[in-house]
Amino acid sequence: MTILSGAGQSRNLIDYAILGWRDIVDGARYWRLCHLLATADTRRRFARSRLGQFWIMLSSAIYITAIGIVWSQLWHQPPQEILPYVAVGMMVWQLISSIIIDATTALQVSSNFFLNQYTSTAAILYAVIYRNLFIFSLNMIFPLLICLAFGIRFDAFSLMSLVGLLLLVITGIWIAFVVAIFCARFRDIVQIVSSIVQIIFFLTPVLWKAELLPPESRVIVDWNPFAVLVSIVRDPLVGRPVPTIHWAAACLLAFGGLIATLPFFGRYRRRIVYWL
């Protein structure tokens, strides 16, 4: 039995947080829909192209190799050190940035669903994350081969990058919610978000290493949550130590951020349909 009651009544922050949490959990019931939406996009993207996903893998492989070689020349670093670092880091960054960019239009693209039957906002955004994780897993094949080629040994510590990925996904969920809801309400934000993502890319150690920064500029890495997110997935894989403070920061970012944004989501989740 479904009971919907008026949004007109007054509620406090905790009530909204509970509503938000319920919707986030409820979204998981629509896993079939998530699966169809996520694969439909991939299917559409690669329809009528026989090599399909291979093209994306190839283009990122070329990009990574070129950047790796140019960078190792410019900064006089041995390629075996810079190439795995850039390759893995770049793919992790692409995962983060494409989740955010896709979230800006996810709700508008699905407006047809929202207007014709009850549609879980959470499910639509889970589909965004699912699709990007799928692309990420394919994209990671080449960087992992590079790591092996340059003699990086995978051990138990490398598995920590899966823990890092889990924290990244949880952070991705609430960021996607906030971005999607804002972009549904204010249409001019869509462009702003993509510029901001571009700027964050330059400020995040993906193509460069934090230890090469002069001490007075270290603050842009130390206080950059995206630097933490990239490092907890990349560094265990390329054999770089991850400071404990990064793990603590990542947990805070994932769970603290989720809890802090629940009331926001609970408050606006059912208003979204009026904005589409």
């Binding site: 479904t2 009971i3 949004a7 007109g8 439909a40 329809a47 047809n112 039957q117 001019d188």
Partner: protein, 248 residues
């Protein structure tokens, strides 16, 4: 048992123009003062104080002029809009036939689309696969089902959408105008199937301007006027009053 109850339901829409849609204008509107008159959000009261109760066996027709709130009411029932005021409770599996192509993907084949559309209507993959043969047969599309749907003509596409959408048996059907698809012969077959489905379902809520259809199908008529329920009753009771108000 299926059941729908709306108590004192009201729906209010904010109308967002290009000003309120823009963050820039929202922010600077707060800083300055000149733009203040553009800032106010306009609200439309689409439904107001609606009290309705439908139970098993109810065949409800909704009439009213354009903009009376028919579609809004159907969307509230389908769970699209949460009531701004009042409470609504729905018991039973509800299917909304407002867009029968929802969830279909032009790039996928007809066979894949049968599964997609069924899952969008809330079935599991296994249930969808079980229904698939009878849908294929009813659609009469034969070998075309192996081709991507984008190669279909509009008629063929609607035919498939119709065959899938009418293959499940929900407790409650919500429909905005009658659905149909295909050529004259298919239309006859489709109408028979739809009528049969509407007779079996526990509750039907249909908004239509086609008075004869409503007379045939509905045992209860709700007349909406400016977002309020003007009258509820049998077709014979409500329809003359409605026509009289239209003439006036």
């Amino acid at each position: 048992m299926a059941h729908i109850r709306l108590s004192d339901v009201g729906v209010e829409f904010p109308i967002h123009n290009s000003h309120s849609r823009s963050l820039q204008l929202q922010v600077f509107g707060k800083l300055g003062g000149k733009l203040a008159q553009h800032k106010q959000a306009v609200f439309v009261q689409a439904l107001q104080g609606v009290n309705l109760e439908f139970k098993d066996g109810d065949r409800v027709g909704i009439i009213g002029h354009n903009g009376a709130g028919k579609t809004t009411l159907l969307r509230v029932l389908a769970g699209v809009y949460e009531p701004t005021f009042g409470t609504m409770s729905v018991e039973g599996r509800l299917s909304s036939f407002t867009d029968i192509t929802l969830g279909m993907d032009p790039e996928a084949t007809g066979l894949e689309n049968i599964i997609f559309r069924c899952v969008f209507m809330g079935l599991s993959f296994a249930e969808a696969r079980r229904l698939s043969p009878s849908i294929q047969q009813f659609s009469e599309l034969g070998e075309f089902l192996r081709l991507p749907v984008r190669t279909y003509s509009t008629g063929m596409f609607l035919r498939l959408a119709f065959a899938i959408s009418t293959s499940i048996e929900p407790d409650i059907i919500v429909m905005d105008e009658m659905i149909a698809g295909g050529d004259a012969r298919f239309l006859e077959k489709a109408t028979a199937r739809l009528t049969n489905l509407m007779e079996r379902t526990k509750i039907l809520v249909l908004a239509t301007h086609a008075i004869p259809i409503m007379q045939d199908l509905c045992n209860k008529v709700v007349w909406l006027d400016h977002g309020e329920v003007r009258k509820i009753g049998s077709f014979e009771e409500v329809q003359p009053l409605y026509l009289a108000s239209m003439a006036a």
